[in-house]
């Protein structure tokens, strides 16, 4: 069976007057229907840009330089904008990072939710209105029937993100891309929003691509996790395996730099030294090599490709993967697994 979404060697560049920024340097992944995929990486590694490129809504300076995005065997990158518009919002929808600015301040939330319903599903005004109220109720907005007439500024951040989710799922897309959906929110609200997302994705059997820099978020949400660095995937594995046995030094570094509840008090967090390379130059060898203690001569000259390691579902792009003895013991403990609040 062909996957629902298959991204092949996608590369995106931003051209400015002085330089070219290579934001995404050839990423490939498959997404099955109903699968939840996490994409983690630090700011500026190309996570969001990849998502925007898939939907064809890159900022003006950005251009897809190679690759294909096959959605149900159709290459989205080759579609005309009017054809792509039929897919955006209808088959693939997106939730953005900042709910404070992602809603149009001069339109009521009802108007914004019904927009996609009326366009894609050709609903009548009344039907769309009813559906919008249902959607708001589903994302947990109290008194949805009244709130639908309100403007975005009358909602709190968390509520606005719920509205954004309602907008995104309005046409029951097959794929939902959530770009840092909880980053701009309080921790307690984050948990609520993630819960709403998880529930909806499960109910509607949507595939989810969750883009985040927060390992904790993917741990509890995603079946599979891809780690991104400097516009490439450096490791891809089922989330549980990735946390248990990180094989890429960058993944290991990320895990070590996050505080852990089960760690001994005196254990210090280990930051990853250095800063990411400037993405304006062509990178020779592994992009992480300058910051990597495992780097070999090979790392500095030859770019590693993703290859199988340990098992069929664990991929890593590294010439000298982390060995078992160097691995601290990590374990995913999520509320769902344990049946108690983690």
């Amino acid at each position: 069976m062909t996957p629902l979404l298959s991204v092949r060697d996608l590369a995106v560049q931003f051209k400015t007057r002085k330089s070219t920024v290579r934001a995404v340097n050839g990423i490939s992944f498959d997404l099955e229907a109903g699968e939840t995929l996490g994409i983690v990486g630090e700011s500026g590694c190309g996570k969001s840009v990849s998502a925007l490129a898939m939907l064809g809504i890159l900022p003006r300076a950005g251009r897809v330089t190679s690759g294909e995005v096959l959605f149900e065997d159709v290459d989205l990158l080759k579609l005309h904008d009017s054809q792509l518009r039929q897919i955006r919002g209808n088959d693939i929808a997106m939730i953005f990072q900042d709910p404070m600015t992602s809603l149009n301040p001069v339109l009521t939330v009802g108007r914004q939710i019904t927009e996609a319903l009326r366009k894609h599903l050709r609903m009548s005004k009344d039907d769309a209105h009813k559906e919008a109220v249902t959607l708001l109720e589903r994302v947990g907005i109290p008194a949805a029937g009244d709130r639908i007439k309100d403007y975005p500024h009358q909602f709190s951040g968390g509520m606005r993100q719920r509205v954004m989710i309602a907008m995104a799922i309005s046409c029951k897309p097959k794929i939902l891309i959530a770009d840092e959906p909880t980053t701009a929110l309080d921790v307690t609200i984050q948990a609520q929003i993630l819960e709403v997302l998880k529930q909806l994705v499960a109910e509607e059997k949507m595939a989810l691509i969750l883009i985040t820099h927060d390992l904790g978020v993917v741990a509890g949400t995603c079946g599979r996790t891809n780690v991104m660095y400097a516009g490439r995937f450096v490791e891809s594995a089922p989330t549980r395996k990735l946390f248990a046995k990180p094989r890429h030094p960058y993944t290991l570094g990320l895990l070590k730099s996050v505080p852990r509840l089960d760690a001994a008090r005196k254990e210090k967090l280990e930051p990853i030294g250095g800063t990411p390379l400037s993405m304006t130059r062509e990178i020779e060898g592994c992009a992480f090599a300058p910051r990597c203690i495992y780097a070999t001569e090979e790392s500095r000259t030859k770019t590693p490709e993703l290859r199988r390691i340990d098992s069929d579902d664990h991929l890593v792009a590294c010439w000298n993967p982390v060995q078992e003895e160097d691995m601290p013991h990590f374990e995913v403990v999520s509320a769902r697994d344990e049946g108690v609040a983690g």
Binding site: L55, P105, K119
Partner: protein, 299 residues
């Protein structure tokens, strides 16, 4: 009523007021702006009811022809008589109609074309934008009054032509303002979010971007109206005013009597004051609007 219902009711009472209501509130509490509103209201009423307020027709000769020292203000003729023996008060009152008309029409003209050009430039970008904006720059590089003079000599000296000429000088201001405003909105998150839902380009511009980009133009339109009134008065003063004889245009009244300033001060002061008051009123409103719409200027 259940507890939950009670809570909902309470929540509703605590709802913040709407964005527009907030701005309106700030505007209503701005004293200067209220003065401006009152001034303009009075002027508009005067313009509308001019035939009832003015005791005489504008062209009606009610006193002696007196070229050297026309009669000054008196209880019968509040603003005195002009050199042709016409009641100056009646002429100033009817002049309000002209000035407001000129302000409205020329700004409406400039706004219409400025909006179209600015929206096209801001939304489509690329060479269309370059072409439009450079043309606007060229127009802006010529002082407005000079440009108006040139256009009047090109179009002719009728009242309509003058309004169009002054309107044209305001086009680049509106176009630039709207383009900048659209550029800022175009890259905003909500536009990206709307695009991600498949909203098509024209709808994106008209429904999402334009309403957010228009606020600064409301302010500019008010201020431009003041400038238009001054410009038309200025054109008249320079002898390029409406060629229709006997038209009670404030600027023309000033120009006709400037040489008699020492003998008949009243013939210059009253039309002059009328111009100042109307322009001041519009400026006060414009500033008040700007302060209430733009949160950055809020104290």
């Amino acid at each position: 009523m259940s507890v939950a219902e009670a809570e909902v009711k309470e929540l509703h009472l605590e709802q913040p007021s709407s964005l527009g209501r907030d701005a309106l509130d700030r505007f209503l509490h701005n004293k200067a702006a209220m003065v401006g509103i009152v001034v303009m209201l009075v002027l508009v009423l005067i313009a509308i009811f001019a035939p009832l307020i003015a005791p005489y027709e504008t062209g009606q000769q009610v006193g002696p022809l007196d070229n050297s020292s026309p009669e000054g203000p008196s209880s019968e003729h509040w603003m005195g008589l002009d050199e042709l023996g016409r009641d100056q008060f009646s002429r100033v009152v009817f002049g309000a109609r002209l000035s407001l008309l000129v302000g409205l029409v020329s700004v409406a003209f400039g706004l219409t074309f400025g909006l179209i050009l600015g929206a096209v430039a801001g939304y489509f970008g690329s060479w269309v934008e370059t072409l439009i904006m450079r043309a606007m720059d060229i127009m802006l590089s010529i002082p407005a009054l000079l440009l108006a003079i040139g256009l009047v000599s090109l179009l002719g000296r009728g009242l309509v032509q003058i309004m169009i000429a002054v309107g044209i000088t305001t086009i680049p201001i509106f176009a630039r303002l709207l383009r900048g405003s659209i550029l800022a909105q175009r890259e905003s998150d909500y536009v990206l979010a709307a695009r991600s839902l498949g909203v098509p380009g024209r709808r994106l511009l008209m429904v999402h971007i334009m309403p957010n980009a228009l606020a600064p133009l409301i302010v500019q339109a008010t201020l431009a109206m003041a400038v238009a009134i001054i410009d038309v008065a200025g054109l008249s003063f320079l002898g390029l005013g409406p060629s229709e004889p006997g038209l009670p245009e404030w600027g023309k009244m000033l120009a006709d009597n400037a040489s008699r300033l020492s003998q008949a001060t009243h013939l210059v002061i009253f039309p002059g004051a009328a111009i100042v008051v109307s322009v001041l009123g519009l400026n006060l409103i414009g500033d008040g609007l700007r302060e209430s719409i733009d949160p950055k200027l809020r104290s």
